[in-house]
Symmetry: C2
């Protein structure tokens, strides 16, 4: 990594820590420059705006995540097991980012809304991976003929909703204080029933 790239990485890290602590709106490029011991004008050399910086952070995190999801796609296991692994990996992704960046719940809920648009491509790619697994299951006789794209969307939306709802009702201040094992268990119970609903039953 050259010096320019390395500096960019450092700014992204500092930026994410600020966004996680103070939310998207309250954090300014000036704040981030301050933490980096840089002048705001030098920061523009790396990122043209707060929005551009934020989008690049999100893009990076999500690319890494999508690569992991694609690896599951290639595994030699049943479509059912792949579906469960993809959901598990998605939960781990959310959980790991929360620990990595010490995200305040209030900031998280704000960020969820801010990134809704800039992550649309990513959401689509993730749903496509899941829908590919479902199609595989339909072809090999594991699953009934369902609308795989819609089912994938619904599963992803359900998993995210359960995670976010746990944030809303929690009295914790930081995401990493939340009992993720419990959330994870209830999500996996739900997802297994959903899979059961599309499975062709053994006669």
């Amino acid at each position: 990594m050259d010096k320019f790239q390395q500096k960019k990485e450092e700014i992204k890290n500092a930026g994410m820590k600020m966004f996680a602590a103070y939310g998207y709106y309250k954090t300014t490029l000036e704040d981030i420059a301050g933490v980096m011991g840089m002048k705001k004008n030098s920061l523009y050399y790396y990122f043209e705006s707060k929005d551009a910086l934020f989008k690049e952070i999100i893009k990076c995190e999500m690319q890494t995540h999508l690569e992991q999801q694609n690896i599951i796609l290639l595994k030699k296991i049943s479509a059912e097991d792949k579906t469960v692994e993809i959901v598990k990996n998605f939960i781990s992704f959310i959980r790991e980012r929360s620990v990595k960046f010490t995200i305040r719940i209030k900031s998280y809920l704000e960020i969820v809304k801010v990134i809704k648009n800039s992550r649309a491509d990513f959401d689509n790619s993730e749903c496509n991976i899941l829908s590919e697994v479902l199609e595989e299951g339909i072809k090999n006789g594991e699953f009934k003929k369902i609308n795989s794209k819609q089912f994938a969307d619904d599963v992803k939306m359900t998993v995210e909703s359960i995670i976010n709802n746990n944030y809303i009702i929690s009295d914790a201040e930081f995401v990493h204080e939340i009992n993720f094992d419990e959330i994870s268990q209830s999500i996996l119970r739900i997802v297994k029933f959903l899979i059961e609903g599309i499975k062709i039953q053994d006669k």
Copy 2:
């Protein structure tokens, strides 16, 4: 209804409107007294505290709702249809309250957290109704032998999570601006797959 009761109802209505607009924490008994053209001291004659007033509002709304859920329990339809009707009725309950009280989304998300404890009994009663329907389905051969209490809890939690998540990601200011038909459709798709997952398939 005697005069005392009538006044109490008026205070509850005024209170809920304030809570819906300004949230639980920002609303004071003094504000509510002001809107009612009463002195704060006279208000104490009807409710000993903001918390007591709030709890009574929630209790009332939920009792009406539970009565409706109990009527579904008695219908002469399949356990599957009852499950769907109970979920539909729950969605309508949330939707109607939102319109009735013109709830600001920010207030709603705050209230969800505030009432978490005071509505535990209600949540339990609602889950018991759903779990009774599931037991009925297990007995009459519609459903597989599942942990009906846990499944009922999971279904209720999922439905609520999807509704609340739609509130979080929405750019709307008021709950009634949200497209409830769309939410309702995706919830019902999910619930039908969940039911499919516990159904004994026709051979």
